[in-house]
């Protein structure tokens, strides 16, 4: 892990060095300007990438942060005589605050709605700044103390400053990518609800991402103002600014440090040179060529240049996909066992559900259900389809809030708490239709689940290793979740839940779709977990398996509790046979 970062940092340093040398030999002021603008747009692309690339919340509105940064630097210098040396870092703070302020209401939206709402912010600001009378703001020349005001006769210095900013942003991104921060964002992108159930504080990570992203964009905007010396609303708040951030990042490839940099290094000079060479001869042609270049690349490499090239290189060297990522997963010897909770007191109530009800519109999905779960037991929940079993799980893990009634976890009411809080309080769950983070490795999936109870990344990785071992997935640890079989996915979900060190495990149809031998394997695992003191609540239709597995049954029908008791009683209960088990069962077991 640390080694990966060091290697990444080395590449970034090498890139910086080469770029600095290129700047050194650029004597024409026009090329110096291009060499300055490239890193600025690359930083802008990286800013966009932090939010949209990792968390998947696509923003069309990064111009808002860029423009605020630019105007802050310009206005602060004009009105307060503030030097850009201080102004640009402050522009970062302005951008960060703007990100937070925008994020708090806007993260209530998802997908297309989020993207479009983001579009509205810079455009609203654009007209506000025009109305305020800032149509064209020129930074005053400071002849007395030019260096103090970042005004250099040698324009290469601007390029070096921009480069320093870029290298800093790349290192920051590389760190984010490999930290708990980045992993949480990617988990959110893959499946936000599953991430939340695995203990990820999704809202807070998203707000951190948009704050950091806004800060980076603000700094880029601030430097842009200093370099161009003139700020106009369309130039900094316009749709093309947001589009440029998006274009360089997507062209190069999202979700990586290198994507936005590749995009900026290729596209920005291309458009500038086209503009200079062709713009005067045939107006508009440069835009057409630029547009064609973008369209062509996206048709050839829809996922961006970086990923395409990486895939091609891998194919050539015959390397298996996923084998370079997290290569340290099984190297370490210090595998920590998951601390077993001995069933100290079998009568201890871990979970108590009291008179819980939930309606969706006119449908009463769960009706006045009460039950208690004792430590170390395996409780089976059965009932016909639509009986409210999964809804009950969703109430227990916080996906939905009960209309009435209480959910007591270790005596504390957690009804209506957020899923990540309930996960932290000791409830792990799996899903009826598996919800892995498909493009992460098995190991990373489980690490995400481990963060909730881990103080450090190191501890999370160790807990994850133990959980993977427990579920018997060691050999598949480095495979991408998307490649797994159904059984492996079921085990992965159990491992991810185990990594959060739960007191209670909610298993939703974990045996569904498994073959005979596979069922036995999973049943054995569940039994062992229960023996180690983890309380299990399992929803399942396979009665043959359930009768052997569970200590006690709860039967739901039409949202209400129909019966509960030992397997032997339940399978003979007339009401249960009528509602669920059916006539065949009666004949077979008569």
């Amino acid at each position: 892990m640390a080694q990966g970062i060091r290697r990444q940092a080395l590449f970034i340093a090498a890139f910086g060095l080469v770029y600095a040398l290129v700047v050194l030999f650029a004597h024409h002021s026009y090329y110096q300007l291009i060499l300055t603008v490239v890193p600025i747009w690359a930083v802008m692309g990286l800013a966009w990438n932090i939010l949209s690339g990792y968390s998947g919340f696509v923003s069309f509105g990064h111009a808002a942060f860029f423009g605020l940064g630019a105007y802050f630097v310009a206005l602060a210098q004009i009105h307060w005589g503030l030097s850009p040396w201080i102004g640009i870092p402050c522009a970062g703070i302005v951008g960060g605050i703007a990100g937070l302020v925008v994020g708090i209401p806007t993260f209530r939206l998802r997908g297309h709605y989020f993207a479009l709402a983001m579009l509205a912010y810079p455009l609203a600001l654009l007209y506000v700044f025009e109305w305020l009378g800032y149509q064209e703001l020129a930074l005053p020349m400071q002849r007395e103390a030019p260096l103090l005001y970042m005004q250099f006769a040698d324009h290469r210095i601007y390029a070096w400053i921009a480069l320093a900013l870029l290298v800093g942003s790349m290192l920051l991104t590389a760190w984010v990518e490999r930290s708990r921060f980045g992993m949480s964002l990617v988990a959110i992108k893959e499946d936000e609800a599953a991430a939340e159930a695995a203990g990820i504080r999704t809202v807070s990570w998203k707000l951190k991402a948009i704050t950091l992203s806004g800060a980076m964009a603000g700094v880029a905007g601030g430097l842009y103002a200093v370099v161009l010396l003139v700020v106009t609303p369309p130039a900094v708040f316009g749709m093309l600014v947001s589009a440029q951030a998006l274009i360089v990042a997507m062209f190069g490839g999202v979700g990586t440090v290198w994507g936005p940099v590749i995009g900026a290094v290729v596209l920005v000079p291309l458009s500038e040179i086209l503009h200079a060479q062709l713009g005067d001869v045939i107006p508009g042609i440069q835009g057409v060529v630029y547009g064609i270049a973008i369209v062509a690349v996206i048709l050839l490499a829809p996922e961006g240049v970086f990923w395409k090239v990486r895939d091609l290189l891998r194919k050539r060297s015959g390397e298996a996909p996923g084998s370079t990522a997290a290569a340290g997963a099984d190297r370490s010897g210090s595998v920590m066992e998951i601390p077993a909770r001995k069933p100290a007191n079998q009568d201890e109530v871990v979970l108590e559900v009291a008179n819980v009800s939930k309606a969706f519109g006119g449908l009463q999905a769960v009706r006045d259900v009460s039950l208690t779960v004792r430590r170390g037991e395996i409780l089976g929940i059965i009932g016909p389809n639509g009986a409210g079993k999964t809804t009950l799980f969703n109430l227990l893990n916080g996906f939905i809030r009960p209309d009435q009634g209480r959910v007591l976890l270790g005596g504390k009411d957690v009804g209506g708490h957020a899923p990540y809080e309930i996960c932290a309080a000791g409830v792990g769950r799996t899903f009826q239709v598996v919800r892995p983070f498909r493009r992460m490795t098995v190991f990373d999936n489980v690490v995400v689940g481990a963060y909730v109870g881990a103080a450090s990344g190191e501890e999370a990785r160790n807990v994850a290793k133990a959980a993977i071992k427990r579920a018997g997935l060691e050999r598949d640890a480095l495979r991408t979740a998307g490649e797994l079989t159904n059984k492996q996915l079921r085990l992965l979900e159990i491992a991810r839940a185990l990594a959060g060190r739960p007191k209670i495990l909610l298993l939703d149809e974990t045996l569904a779709g498994l073959g005979g031998a596979e069922v036995e394997e999973v049943i054995t695992l569940v039994r062992q977990l229960a023996a180690e003191g983890i309380t299990i609540v399992i929803i399942e239709h396979t009665m043959q398996a359930m009768v052997r597995l569970v200590d006690r049954f709860v039967v739901l029908n039409e949202g209400a509790l129909l019966a509960q008791g030992q397997p032997a009683e339940i399978t003979r209960n007339e009401a249960v046979i009528d509602a669920y088990l059916g006539r065949k069962w009666r004949m077979a077991n008569a």
Binding site: R108, Y113, A117, Y127, I247, I298
Partner: protein, 319 residues
């Protein structure tokens, strides 16, 4: 300002809002097929509208439209003519470009396919804008119509104090816009082709199982979407001047209208567009002109945040 003056200003803004709103509504209906139903974010939509404006402009200028239909009716015939031309352009753009990153093929690309369509349509937008600059030049033009400068006077009402002027050109344009919307909504709702288009757009996979040629349906839906918006552009072209970058100004208005109307509802999009027109015009009563568009965005944000299902959409209920 006296009370009758206030009433007059209000009625005047209301009229202007309804008339421009009707055309916005038509443009939004076009976008709603592509964005609301197919869920493709088409950044080039405003630029197809721009193309529609120029098609109307040249159709009116080059062909015998003015001599056949007269100077008054000619511009509107030209506007409607923009429809079929842009339909063909849209079908071709979809067939050769958009289809590669959307629909069933797009869903195979998962999240990255989603990104690909954004940047692809951004690229198309750049090509259309700058190609337009190359072909049509940067000087603003408009379609001259005598109706644009004549108005009906409503009133004087309320004892000579209040009278409202209704621009004849805008009124005719609004009536045509409403007619096209009604025809299009009926086509989508009633005809079997319309139904298969909606099915293919809404759930490509299920539509395939029902024997619908999804590729063809998506092409047609995309073409129809841009064509309907182009007619809206053509109608605007006789009232106001435009240049090749005009699409950018309207693309936000259109997305705002579609979201207001509720994604997936074609007729809702019309009312969304109408609302945008009203907000824009009524905001001039108490905001400086420059903040007209800010008013739109603020209303848009407020509604998206408070009622993400849209002003006219139904809340989704799991029943």
């Amino acid at each position: 300002m006296s009370a009758p003056q206030l009433v007059e200003n209000f009625l005047q803004a209301l009229t202007a809002g309804l008339l421009t709103g009707a055309i916005y509504g038509l443009m939004c209906v076009g976008l709603s097929v592509i964005f609301g139903v197919m869920r493709v974010i088409n950044f080039a939509h405003g630029d197809f509208m721009m193309l529609g404006m120029y098609v109307a402009f040249y159709a009116f200028g080059t062909f015998a439209l003015p001599s056949v239909f007269g100077a008054s009716a000619g511009p509107y015939v030209a506007a409607v003519l923009a429809g079929p031309v842009i339909f063909i352009a849209g079908v071709l753009v979809h067939k050769f470009l958009v289809s590669r990153v959307t629909g069933i093929r797009g869903s195979a690309l998962s999240a990255e396919g989603h990104y690909a369509q954004l940047i692809l349509t951004l690229g198309i937008a750049l090509i259309l804008q700058n190609g337009g600059l190359y072909l049509f030049g940067s000087a603003p033009v408009s379609i001259p119509t005598p109706l644009a400068s004549s108005a009906w006077e409503l009133g004087p009402l309320h004892g000579e104090a209040v009278s409202v002027f209704i621009n004849q050109g805008q009124t005719v344009a609004a009536i045509i816009a409403v007619a096209v919307v009604i025809a299009f909504v009926l086509f989508m709702a009633r005809s079997s082709l319309g139904k298969s288009l909606r099915a293919a757009a809404d759930n490509p996979e299920a539509a395939t199982y029902m024997g619908i040629d999804v590729g063809r349906a998506h092409r047609l839906a995309f073409g129809l979407g841009v064509a309907v918006t182009a007619i809206g552009g053509g109608l605007l072209a006789s009232g106001s001047s435009f240049q090749p970058y005009v699409g950018l100004e309207y693309v936000i208005v259109m997305y705002a209208g579609v979201v207001l109307g509720g994604l997936g509802s074609v007729s809702g999009a019309f009312f969304g567009g109408l609302t945008i027109g009203l907000v824009q015009q009524l905001s001039t009563l108490f905001l400086p002109n420059q903040l007209q568009n800010t008013a739109i965005f603020v209303v848009f944000l407020a509604i998206v945040l408070l009622r993400p299902q849209g002003l006219f959409g139904k809340a989704l209920r799991r029943t």
